[in-house]
Amino acid sequence: MSTELPLIGDYSTPGTELSGARIGVVTFPGTLDDRDAARAVRAAGAEAVALWHGDTDLQDVDAVIIPGGFSYGDYLRAGAISRFAPMMAKIVDAANSEARLPVLGICNGFQILTESHLLPGSMIKNDHLKFICRDQLLRVENNETAWTNQYDKGEEITIVLKNQDGQYVADEKVLDELVAENRVAFSYVGWNPNGSRRSIAGISNKAGNVVGLMPHPEHAIESGFGPDHRGTDGLRFFTSVVTQLVGGKK
């Protein structure tokens, strides 16, 4: 009996593609959460398109998610080697182009976005040196990005946090800029789980099309599987970008 395992996820299962939006999910060697991210895309009514790190064809996707995991085993620095993948060059160009391709980096994806200079700062080891996995309370600080427009400003949401190198660092000038330009997208609430500067959990670029965060919205999209076995607070990341793509309003 042949048990052929696909190298990358098979997202060909028909879903409810309500919007016509096509959202790419990139897989690197060592990516873990590409399937969950693709599932979240389908749950939000869009079509998930598998993108391979070594390819250069963005397949005309309308947005891209760089999911979590340990690409290249976090060797050198988390995200440092993935940054130079052929697909990343295409994504960086598209994100900086006039079309402003929406890009979401989750966890390792966030680390890849900082290494790619799409987002400022960097991530170092958690201040307590331990891997952490918990349901994490966040505050939505900016609801005007491609990936947060379906949230209320100041709203508190709970999604999963799981990482080793999650301590967000940047110099004081960059941190002041991020705050002044309303580019802190999410803050940790109650407890800073990794020592991140100014409790920053996620940030955006100036245009608001690129967002990166350490916690995992794609693990909180379906009742029965999210935080507390019911939380679906992460789903609106994906409905936000679909809403923007179809030109809808909140």
């Binding site: 440092a80 170092i124 307590h128 040196l129 660092v169």
Partner: protein, 83 residues
């Protein structure tokens, strides 16, 4: 074959949690003279033949673009070690 050694350290203003943990372990082994520890990375780039100025320049460029992240790290040393 000669090697080019590249040393990378976290910038002084960046807290080094690993170094801090090592500093905490030293006294438990009786090493009580060390105030602080900072941990860095050493890369060895092996070169076939002679290390020319051009190759050394390439090593410096690689050190700044891939081996270190200038946001959090400094390249503190690039030197040739003969075998």
């Amino acid at each position: 074959m000669p090697r080019i050694v590249v040393d990378v350290m976290l910038k002084p203003e960046i807290l080094d949690p690993q170094g801090k943990a090592i500093a905490g372990a030293l006294p438990r082994l009786g090493f009580s003279s060390f105030e602080a520890v900072r941990q860095g990375k050493r890369f060895e780039l092996t070169v076939e033949g002679e290390v020319t100025e051009e190759i050394l320049a390439q090593a410096r460029e690689a050190a700044e673009t891939l081996l270190s992240n200038p946001v959090i790290e400094d390249v503190v040393n690039v030197e040739v070690v003969a075998d």
